[in-house]
Each structure stands twice: as structure tokens, then as C-alpha cells.
Point group: C2
Chain length 449, copies 2
Amino acid sequence: MKVVKFGGSSVASAEQLEKVANIIKADKERKIVVVSAPGKRFKEDEKVTDLLIELGEAFLDGKDYQNAMNKIVNRFSDITTALGLDDMLLRVIQDDIASVVASDQANELKMDALKAIGEDSLAKVFGAYLASTGTNATYINPRDAGIFVSDQPGNAQILEESFEKLYQLRNRDEILVIPGFFGYTKQGTLMTFPRGGSDITGSIVAAGVKADLYENFTDVDSVFCVNPTIVKQPKEITTLTYREMRELSYAGFSVFHDEALIPAFKAKIPVCIKNTNNPSASGTMIVSERKLNGNPVVGIASDTGFISLYISKYLMNREIGFGRRLLNILEDEHISFEHAPSGIDDMTVILRESQLTPEKEERIMSRIKEELKADTISIERDLAMIMIVGEGMNSAVGVAKNATAAFANANINIEMINQGSSEVSVMFGVKSSNLEPAVRSLYDMFFNQ
Amino acid sequence: MKVVKFGGSSVASAEQLEKVANIIKADKERKIVVVSAPGKRFKEDEKVTDLLIELGEAFLDGKDYQNAMNKIVNRFSDITTALGLDDMLLRVIQDDIASVVASDQANELKMDALKAIGEDSLAKVFGAYLASTGTNATYINPRDAGIFVSDQPGNAQILEESFEKLYQLRNRDEILVIPGFFGYTKQGTLMTFPRGGSDITGSIVAAGVKADLYENFTDVDSVFCVNPTIVKQPKEITTLTYREMRELSYAGFSVFHDEALIPAFKAKIPVCIKNTNNPSASGTMIVSERKLNGNPVVGIASDTGFISLYISKYLMNREIGFGRRLLNILEDEHISFEHAPSGIDDMTVILRESQLTPEKEERIMSRIKEELKADTISIERDLAMIMIVGEGMNSAVGVAKNATAAFANANINIEMINQGSSEVSVMFGVKSSNLEPAVRSLYDMFFNQ
């Protein structure tokens, strides 16, 4: 059986929901459907979840929230009307919102409950629509499905016992439509997941029912092997491993929030990223292991906004604890480093520039001078990182040669190379201004030969 | 003016001392001479310093030390006789030893005083010899020269004020012969320097008198650009910077103990490594800055006996403090890491295998598992590090390309690349079995084109 998740743009309108229904009917293995709240239909459109937050904040500020309420109800009535569904559903939505607002819950619980109404209502609407088309389908509440979470409003974590309960869903005959984004504590309080909530629900359910496949429907045909804003119409990735996806999603590749996939990864459920607007496209498979084809490189990721902190001190490498003390100084400023390659008498720490305020930078620099007695400290800004990713790449002779040749072909100096730390990637640092030509040259080397 | 230092093999015999005298007379700028104790004349020979230690230990164990005493006196009498010097010098040596043994000093101070007698006596003998040949030369005791040190027997550190005192030596007309290896505390107690003692003295004196050049005479013509046991008759290095020397001496290149040169480095005194047995050879200059010739690579260093510790953990890079905690575990075992390149979800730590006992390894592995909750930990043994070194290399486009091509030409997989941390070197990790072919291929690429 397959668990199928549809994102906000896939459920933004009646027209989209009809596509979703067809996708589900096209494969009887698609037994469990996880849906997001209606997203944007056009660029300037508002997401239902944002409207619910707007409503909640208005209420908490003692302001009038009728305007937001109307917008929300209108979004759903557009859908129910076009799908020819009973207006009763609209009243349910209004009642749900009203009862949350009227409840004596703490504010943060109220907000969680409000935010969840987008997914919950859409699931009810879509369940009713599927049924109205003669499909044996029904909405199921996360509590009844068995999604139990920790008592952390807005940041709920799944409880281990949920998976066993979810496995029981296999016994149901009908197609189940589950709202994404939230679960319930053992005490029955609604809690929402952190960022990427509906992906999390889909991933949890897929793991729980031990699905043969977790289909994640978005609005792209597949994952490109390189950033399409840098290389026009790049090759698409047909299959990549969890590790490759993880390395790619680090820099630039944000198909979805990779943490959301952890439950599926742990249960080794294959994931397929597909396009609601072009379901016949094969999409991109994410698996735990893949057969290696000829090309050692599956993708090229890149990102800007890095800086490097260069510290040198004569005889540094005789000083036990130098590197640790340096990282300690960063940690005291709550800064996580990306890489810290070290030489004999020098060490470079690569950070995301966004982490470094002028104040933090000053404190760090002076502490390095005073506490570590460094000979020289220098900061290089506007660095970009480029990562070539591929399973087993580091055991293939010549990959480094071809990659470095690609930089030389573009007459670009490599500021930094980091190979060997990861088994599935090699990282290169270049000046931001060199990022695009470097990526194009690497693409030509590994994908255009 | 020049400060000239001669190592143990350069002063091992009368024949060698005659060469030394000729070297000094050949350049009137050579005004200050620092000498070691007589070293080995042939492979099975004993060093005078070792004989003095033997004598001291025999005495402290309450054993008879006459045998050692005789060997020492014989070494010197061979020299004085062949150089036609007064036997009085031999009595002085015997008296020095006897008085130290008879003194009421603490044992460690006695040992320091005994060890120093090798250099001190040779300086007296050589000073007398120079004078006997009509050269205006004299022995000078480190106390009178102004070498004041901290109260750390066997590990004396120079006191800053010494340099000013040493500067006064410029006013002396005669050639001064200073014994290496030891100095005196402000209270007048003799203390020896740590390993590389005579090099340290020479370096300190050169810095103190602000010498134009510090000539370090050994038994090699110059520094080779690669290990001559791997590449037959490699090119010689005519000039390298302190930084380059430091990086090269890290792995394999042990021309002398690089810490010994710190005083000269700090005072920016150029150092020349020359051969007592072939003084006409130009030798290798070590300077603070050098003009870059065409070749971005000045030398290739290599060393075996490394292992890598690979740790992976999903979402590691979101965990502030992971790297620091890992290094902490190593530090608790008093292990200094060579490099710690990190990927997104993995980190590799390169260590010298000699540091890792089975017990330490077991403790480290289990702590990483338990405290860091790593997903996977693995150790790779028998790694070798190869470093290509050259100033400004990292700003030259194509160096990485040529280097990685050299590995590919030899069909060798690169386990690790570390570029960008040091400005003057790029480090490669390979399996130990691949070290020699890799180094040869790199040599062909950078020195045989």
C-alpha cells in the first residue's frame, strides 16, 4: 500500500482537488491520503493557515476577527461549491473556529488548535468529495488514526507507541484522508508539529503502516541535479539515497524539509516526489540504497552566505585542546560551525554569515586573540560552498581530478576543498562571485559529457 | 655578522674540527660559533652526551662510573692529541665532571650539569684550537654570554632579557665559541634546553646579536624537495620560508627540530642549512619571505602512521557543540588531533596512530557512542598523509587540478583532501600502501615537467 501526501498548492482549489482525486483513483494502492491546508492559488493569494494565524492574533489582541473568519470560510466555500458539496461542512468549520476561540485553553494551545483547522477542514472536505464521487473514502481524525505526540505546542514530537497504533490502519477497507500537521497528546490535547508539519504526518503514517511507498506530491516533476536558476533545464534525478538527499538539501536543495522524512527514513520506506499537476512524470525516488549507475555524481548543491575564520598560531598542532577551545568560543555565542579544517599551525572555521552579528564577531575575535593567543586571525566574507554529491563517490578514482579540472576550466580558484569527511560528498569553497560559473563548469563536467 | 652552529657530527673528531675551523676562517663574518657535543664518528660510535648520561646514571645508582669517565676523556684526548693541544684541557674536563658529581646539588640538577659538559668541553677545546692556529678566538661561557633561562631543569626556556645582553657580544673583536644546549638561571644554576638544545642556543644567539644570517651546519648539502628514500636524487630546495619549512617538517622532513628555530624566526633572522663536509654547496635558505618562482610547490612531505575516526549522525550539523564535545573526548585521553574535517552529518578526525592505545581507543569509541549518540563510528587504519607545500599555492588556479591528476595518473584513490585551512599547503590522505607511488607521481607532476 501507498501513503500519499499532498502539499498546499495541490489542495489550494477545487480544480486541484479534482486532480488529487484522480491521482488517488488511478492507483488502488493509494489507500491513505495526508493533506495540507489550502495554499496559494496565485502569487498574491493567502494561505489558509496564515489566515487562521491572523484570526487567532486578532482575537488575542482583543481585535475584531470577523474579517479573517470570512476570508477563511470563503476559501472553503469556493471549494465546496465548485465540488458540489453540502454547505453543512462550512458550518462545521465556523463552529470549530468559534469553539476554539471560546475555549478556556491557554493561548498557545488555542493558536495550535486554530492553525490545525486548515488541514482538518480540508481533510473533511476532501473526504466528503471523494465519497461523493462514489469512492469508498472517509476523513479520519489524527486521534483516531493514532498520532500521539509529546506535550510541546507548535513543536510536537511523535510518540513511539503511535507507530503500532497506526499499523492497525492497514485493516481499514476505505481510503482514509488524514489531516497533516498535528496530533494529540495522551491527554487528548491537540498539538501541531514544527515546520514541515504535513510532510511529518505523511512520513509518520508511512512508517506506521509500513507502506511500500510514501508519495509526496508537490508542484515539481522531480528533483533537479543542480539549481535550475544557475543551469537552465538541468537533468532530473530519478533516484537518490536518503544520504544523498540530505547532503543536497543542505545547500540550496529545499524540495522539502528533510527532518520531516526521518520517520520514513528510519523505517526504510522509499519516498517518491511527484507532481500533482503532472502525475504521469515518474518523479524522483528517495531510497535507502540505490544501484550505482556510471556517473559517480548524482547532484551538485550550492549555497552562498558563508564566511571563513582563519586562525594561525605557530606550533598550534602541539597544543592539545586548541581546536576544542576555539569551537567552545563559538558555542558560547550559540554559533554552529559548518566545517573546521585544520592545518599544522592553522585552522579555518566556516560559518553561515547570518549567524554572526557584529557584536558576536567582535567578542569572538577578541576572545580568540586573548584566550588562544593566536598569531593571526582573519575573516574572509562572501564565500560560497559547492557540494558534489554521490554515493561511493569518494572511492572512485578521478572524481577529485575531474571536479578540480572543472574549476580550472572556468579559471576559478578553489578557496577550500573538504573531501573525506563525508562518504557521499566533496565540498568546495569559492568566492561568491565565482559560484555560478563554477557550478556550470561542474555540471558540464559531470552531466554534459 | 653571522652566527654559525655546528652539530654533533660536525664536531665528532679532530678531522671534523679542522673542517669547522676552515669554514670559520673562510668568512670573517662568522664571528660567533655555537657547538654541540661530539657526536658519532661512525654508525656504532657513542655520542659524548650519551656517555655523560651513562656516567651520571651509574653514579646515581651508586655504581662505578670510571668506565664511562674513561670513554669520555678518551674521546676528548683523541681530539686534543690530534689537534696538538695542551693536556691541561683534559684535566679540566675530569675536574668538571668530578666537581659536579661531588656537588650537593639535587640529582636532576647534577644530571643537567653533567649533560652540559659535552658541549662546554668541546667549546673550550675548539676555542683553544682556533687560537692555536693564530685566530683571534676564545671560549665564552653561556653565563658570560648572557644566556639566562627559566628554572626548569632539562626544559629551560630563554628569558627575554637575554637578548639584550647577547646583543653586547657584537662589541667583541674575537671570534666567540659558545657551547650549545644550556644556559643559567638568574641565580646562576645551570639548566639544559629541551630536545634540539644546540640549535636552540644558536637560534637564540643569532636573534640576540641580530645576526645577518644564522648558518646551521649539518651533514647534508641541503633540504630535498621530497623524501630521498622515496624519490631517488630529488631536486634540492634553495630557498623556503619559515612557514613552508614548518609545514614540511611536520611530515617526514626532520632536518632539525623546528621549535629550536622560533627565536630566529621571531627576529626574522634568515637561516641557512649547510654541510660541514661540503661547505661550498650553497645549502638551503630559510627566510621569512621569498620571491615566488614559477613552481607553486616547493616541497612534498609525507608520513605514515595515521588513522581516521569516522563519525556520522543524522542532522549532526544542527547540533551545536557536537564537534567540540567530540574533541573534548579526545582531549580527555590527551590525544591531539591532526585534522577534523566535517561534512553535513559526519565528521572525521585524523590522529597519529601512536597516540592511541587499545584501552584509549575502547574508551573513546564507547564515549562517542554513549555521549554523542552517533549513528555510526568507524576507524580506518594505515593511513598516510601527503602534503604539497608552497607559499601562495592556494591562490594559484590549477594546483589542485594538477595534484589530483597526479593521484589519478597513479590510479590511486584519495581518501581525504584538506585544502584551504593552511595558506601554504594542501594535504591528501591515502592508504599507506599507496604512499610511495602517490609521492612519486606528485613529484613527476610538480618537479619533473
